[in-house]
């Protein structure tokens, strides 16, 4: 364990093999990562504890860290050699816990580079435990660490109250650390200009633009060179043969292979378990998931994300959040489920409510985005643009409203901005692997289940009843055909599947824009929904759902009526201006009904 941003995960992935799992700590939604390694013929469990600055917890993740401490046989305390003083605060607290501790002095090379000299032997004497300098990204010192795994001595220390502990740290630092002056490097300059708003905002725009270009490049590359050829050349003949064997029709055939379109299997429209059920997650969605999580891993491990949090703090305050809440929003672009999990790190119930509602309402996950791009791309990039501009407008409008209506205030940003670092390929690869495998585990069962439901709905005739009941409503407000109701129902299970169901309906580009927007806004998928019930509680989730449904009707209706041809009508602009005025005029008051408790 150790402070955030000291390279714990890099040490962890150096120690463990490929059998790494991420799980929730019992009774909480705090995630931790566990792995196994072979050591002297035995299998030992190694746990990557969430980062913490102190054992006097200031948030849920830190509480978990403190709790996990009890179960360890040996505590490996990873310490940032460039920030010894602050890191020793945790180390000294650990030494009081009567547990064997090894201190790993990581980022040793960076410290030398910064002109920091640390006398390791002296530090060992002061602390009374082994101290091992490492450069985890290059694997230096890891062997020395493993060699000390049998260490079980316990030092009993009492450093007293907080002020006395800091005094003790001061004495140690004076003795073991020497600083040499050095000049600013290019990296230092880059680190600073990426935080200052004047230079940082343009840099952020460039980085985000590049990120999306890379995601599209990798995603499309994988689809056209890997997944599509595989499905067309290898998988299609197999399925065609199976279809013939099954007699080209009948209940089982339709369930597994689906309906033949013009006598052939259509992977997007047949809706069989083995055809569409495998094709949508594997061929259309996974390529983009891989691309997204690869880029996200790079942004995380280079230390860029916290800078983004600092830059957007201003705008996030307008919607009642602070800069850090950009993290769930960005995670949500990958998958809403981990985004919903990350919301627990926000402080107040109010922030959690606002952040989850905004995330669910306006952030389409990568699976859905991939399908939006697939469906609308052929009509031109501007329609994809429309969807995202509308969603952005929804995000800010709903946020402004919630900030006015919900009693309470937003708390302040406080976070460490780590230095830029070259990411370790191994850690990025391991993280990518874990995220993709969890996508497989969670998404594919839902897709298959969804296809069974669709087939059952059609076979039992329920769909016609529903289409007759709700269909006219869809038609009048959203301008969508009655059959689109199936897609909307499917959206509860999987949004990508729901988008796929729009394909055979021959919608106009405008209808597709409305449908994409409505599908994003109206309700989270069932997986996200169940996580959020746990996070927010049923009553708050009910309120959040209410916000979503109202927004859906307003936004879907607005898009349907205000867009004519290539832009907004006069009436559309008028409504936008009225809404903005309404928000400005809305008094800050204690609106009882909206109280989040």
């Amino acid at each position: 364990m150790g402070n955030p941003n000291v390279g714990k995960s890099v040490i962890f992935s150096r120690l463990t093999g490929t059998s790494v799992t991420s799980s929730n700590y019992p009774g909480t939604t705090v995630e931790y990562i566990e792995g196994k390694m072979k050591w002297r013929g035995k299998i030992v469990r190694i746990i990557d504890v969430p980062g913490t600055y102190t054992l006097e917890p200031t948030n849920k993740a830190e509480e978990v860290a403190v709790d996990m401490l009890k179960d360890g046989d040996l505590i490996v305390n990873v310490v940032d050699a460039t920030n010894l003083e602050r890191n020793l605060n945790l180390t000294l607290q650990l030494l009081e816990r009567k547990k064997p501790v090894i201190v790993v002095l990581n980022l040793w090379d960076e410290a030398l580079h910064k002109g920091i000299e640390i006398d390791v032997e002296k530090l060992e004497r002061y602390l009374g435990v082994p101290v091992i300098p490492t450069v985890a990204t290059k694997g230096e010192g890891i062997k020395d660490l493993i060699a000390r795994f049998s260490y079980r001595e316990v030092v009993e220390r009492e450093y007293g109250i907080r002020e006395e502990r800091w005094a003790a740290i001061g004495r140690i630092i004076n003795e073991v650390q020497k600083l040499k002056h050095r000049h600013h490097s290019l990296l230092d300059v880059l680190e600073d200009i990426s935080i200052k708003p004047v230079t940082g905002l343009p840099i952020a725009v460039i980085i985000l633009y590049l990120s999306f270009m890379i995601i599209r490049f990798i995603g499309e590359g994988l689809i056209s060179y890997v997944s599509e050829p595989f499905f067309e050349v290898i998988y299609r003949p197999l399925m065609t043969r199976l279809s013939v064997l099954a007699g080209s029709g009948g209940f089982l055939h339709d369930l597994f292979i689906g309906h033949l379109i013009n006598g052939e299997i259509d992977f997007e429209q047949s809706f069989g378990l083995l055809t569409t059920g495998i094709y949508i997650p594997l061929a259309s969605v996974v390529p983009y998931i891989i691309a997204f999580y690869f880029v996200l891993g790079l942004l995380e491990d280079t230390g860029y994300l916290p800078r983004l949090a600092v830059l957007v703090d201003n705008i996030m305050h307008k919607v009642g959040l602070h800069g850090f809440s950009i993290i769930p929003m960005i995670l949500g672009l990958g998958c809403n489920v981990p985004a919903a999990l990350s919301i627990r790190s926000l402080e107040s119930k109010r922030e959690k409510f606002i952040a989850s509602t905004l995330m669910v309402i306006a952030i389409p996950c990568m699976a859905q985005t991939a399908m939006i791009v697939g469906l609308l791309g052929s009509y031109g990039g501007k329609y994809i643009g429309y969807v995202f501009v509308i969603l952005g407008a929804v995000w800010i409008t709903v946020g402004l409203f919630l900030n006015r209506l919900l009693p309470g205030f937003s708390s302040d940003l406080l976070l460490e901005v780590p230095p830029f670092r070259v990411p370790s390929i191994e850690t990025v690869a391991k993280k990518l692997w874990m995220r993709i495998s969890s996508f497989f585990r969670e998404a594919i069962p839902f897709v298959l289940f969804g296809i069974i439901i669709v087939n059952l709905l059609y076979l039992s005739g329920i769909i016609e009843v529903l289409a007759a009941a709700i269909g006219p409503f869809l038609n009048v407000i959203f301008g969508l055909p009655e059959k689109a109701i199936t897609a909307l129902l499917m959206g509860f299970l999987r949004k990508d599947l729901a988008m796929g169901m729009l394909a055979p309906l021959n919608l106009t580009p405008k209808q597709l824009v409305v449908a994409s927007t409505v599908l994003t806004v109206y309700f989270p998928c069932i997986a996200t929904f169940s996580v959020l019930i746990r996070e927010l509680g049923i009553i708050n989730m009910f309120k959040s759902t209410l916000v979503m449904l109202i927004s859906t009707i307003l936004v879907g209706g607005f898009t349907n009526f205000a867009f004519r041809g290539d832009g907004l009508t006069m009436g559309g602009w008028l409504i936008i201006i009225l809404v903005l005025l309404l928000i400005k005029r809305l008094p800050f008051k204690d609106y009882r009904f909206f109280k989040i408790s």
């Binding site: 600055y53 102190t54 006097e56 200031t58 460039t82 920030n83 003083e85 602050r86 605060n89 910064k114 920091i116 907080r162 800091w166 680190e191 600073d192 935080i195 200052k196 708003p197 940082g200 916290p306 949090a309 600092v310 703090d313 201003n314 305050h317 602070h322 800069g323 708390s411 302040d412 940003l413 406080l414 976070l415 460490e416 901005v417 780590p418 230095p419």
Partner: protein
Amino acid sequence: MSQATLHQLKQGERGRIIGFIGGRGVVNKLNALGLREGKEITVISNSFLGGPVTVRVDNTKIAIGHGMAAKIIVEVL
């Protein structure tokens, strides 16, 4: 010697923390990040319009929300 709260410092200015306004919880959080009494800080960026203040303390950079920065009293150096 002049006193100020952290959010009044401009980009590039330096100061020494001499105290905090606020409860134990806030002070505990700031302390854990290395912001303690007696520490020297340099303001890297102080954005206009109520954005966060980013400071360098020792070898780290900490971003502090506008409201919280107003609770940190510094001696301007």
